[in-house]
Symmetry: none
Subunit: 275 residues, 2 copies
């Protein structure tokens, strides 16, 4: 199924995610799940505290086995990024290192361009407690920081991975995703069908003496029409609404309506009290 989907992204041509000394297997697993959500599959781990493989990681990955199965473990950050052409380091704080700092939304198109040009790129994520040390940051080419509430800027590891994957995925496939998913509007009914609905409703309301007094009728009609127009009704919906009006009015037409018409009650109608 996924194979024939145009929106599918080749997982081979995507950034590598490098987790540096993660402490909890659960966090490795939820990071793997976040990667799978955005078609990332190259997960590298430097010195996982609780070793590897990890059953807790696999359980927390909730089925992202293709990520867990392909994990590679390294002793040092330098080894983990050895084959990469460009490395981003995520950081919560601004640092005094003289490297360019980006946010994910602006870094993602850069990743896409690099990968499109055949480069291998990767993103470093630090330890849950205190991130990356200066030594590790110095191995990167560029810093990535997350826009966040200044009073509460610490992200869970998987959340940080998720945000990178999210931006990468959108940058890599943006055209398709947006065009396909954004606002699926149905075809609005032909205007003639819509106008017939208006007239049906207004006729019924005239019958009921609702569009009264006469000098206010035009504004009342305009307002009603505006509401219905805003709904961008389809042809089917116009038919449904006509059914609704018919249903609400019919018993009167069949019974009282006929009686009223027979009794010439029409003239008395407009004077009735309105709700």
């Amino acid at each position: 199924m996924a194979g024939s989907d145009k929106k599918r992204i080749e997982t081979g041509a995507a950034p590598a995610i490098v987790l540096v000394e993660p402490q909890l297997g659960e966090n490795i697993g939820t990071a793997a799940r976040a990667m799978a959500n955005f078609a990332l599959s190259d997960l590298r781990i430097v010195n996982p505290r609780d070793g590897w493989p990890s059953e807790r990681a696999r359980a927390a990955a909730s089925g992202a086995d293709f990520v867990i199965d392909a994990v590679r473990v390294f002793d040092t950050v330098a080894e983990a990024v050895a084959d990469l052409n460009h490395v981003y380091a995520t950081t919560a704080r601004a640092r005094d290192v003289t490297k360019p700092v980006s946010i994910p939304a602006s870094a993602a198109p850069d990743m896409v361009a690099r990968i499109g040009a055949g480069q291998q790129v990767g993103v470093l994520f630090g330890r849950e407690r205190w991130g990356l040390n200066n030594e590790e940051v110095s191995l990167s080419d560029q810093l990535l920081t997350f826009p966040a509430n200044p009073g509460f800027a610490s992200f869970n590891l998987a959340q940080a991975v998720l945000l990178i994957g999210y931006e990468w995925f959108q940058a890599a496939g943006r055209g398709d995703v947006e065009a396909a998913d954004y606002r699926r509007v149905q075809t609005p009914a032909k205007r003639s069908d819509l106008f017939a609905l208006f007239e049906h409703l207004e006729g019924a309301l005239d019958e009921a003496g609702h569009l009264y007094p006469p000098e206010k009728r035009p504004a009342m009609v305009r307002n009603l029409r505006a509401m219905l127009q805003r709904a961008e009704l389809s042809e089917q919906e116009v038919r449904s609404l006509r059914g609704v009006i018919h249903a609400l009015v019919t018993p009167r037409e069949r019974g009282l309506g006929r009686k009223r018409r027979g009794a010439g009650a029409q003239a008395g109608e407009p004077g009735r009290e309105r709700g």
Copy 2:
């Protein structure tokens, strides 16, 4: 420190997050933490499976106590969104409901504009296992879907909340200009007023035997509601439409209706032919 930060966002003017029947306290906590990351503070929970308050939620919130402390619990989605003017429902799948579908990146500027205009908005998140049911989705005005790997599109609850918060935060800090220029909409009625209109209409149609047969009633009701929701009716317009329904139905109530009730014709109603 935060007080002098230009990008600081007043947490009072932000979307409400509504978790519908979340199963695990941990997930509520991690969602609260994700909210705190992006300065969201209005967390509403409908029927949490394991009750409230929850120590597991507080622990998982990792210090986002201002979110946990302010949680409000509701029995139904309708009650949880009653005071809101515009409601988004998150969904993994495309649905056959005819509502506009957006991705977070395009919905966020809309949220900012609405909130800037004084509207209260909220986002519904479904259960961990199977999301929102059709009934709950029908209470929303607009659907939100996440761009994701089609082969692995299921998000952890907190991850979904995080992505909404992330886009909201960036859109809110992006520039006041955009918010001011963007689509000046009238304030939609509070959802409780809108729901009362739905019930008025559906009651009248039940009386008329229009929502028949029973097994088709839910879909018919959903479609009718979707049309009315799309119109983004103001409070005044909701009143006008209630006046319209009243006007169409009243003569029957006064005359034939009484007669019919007197004659016990109610039972025969559902069988009538529908338009």
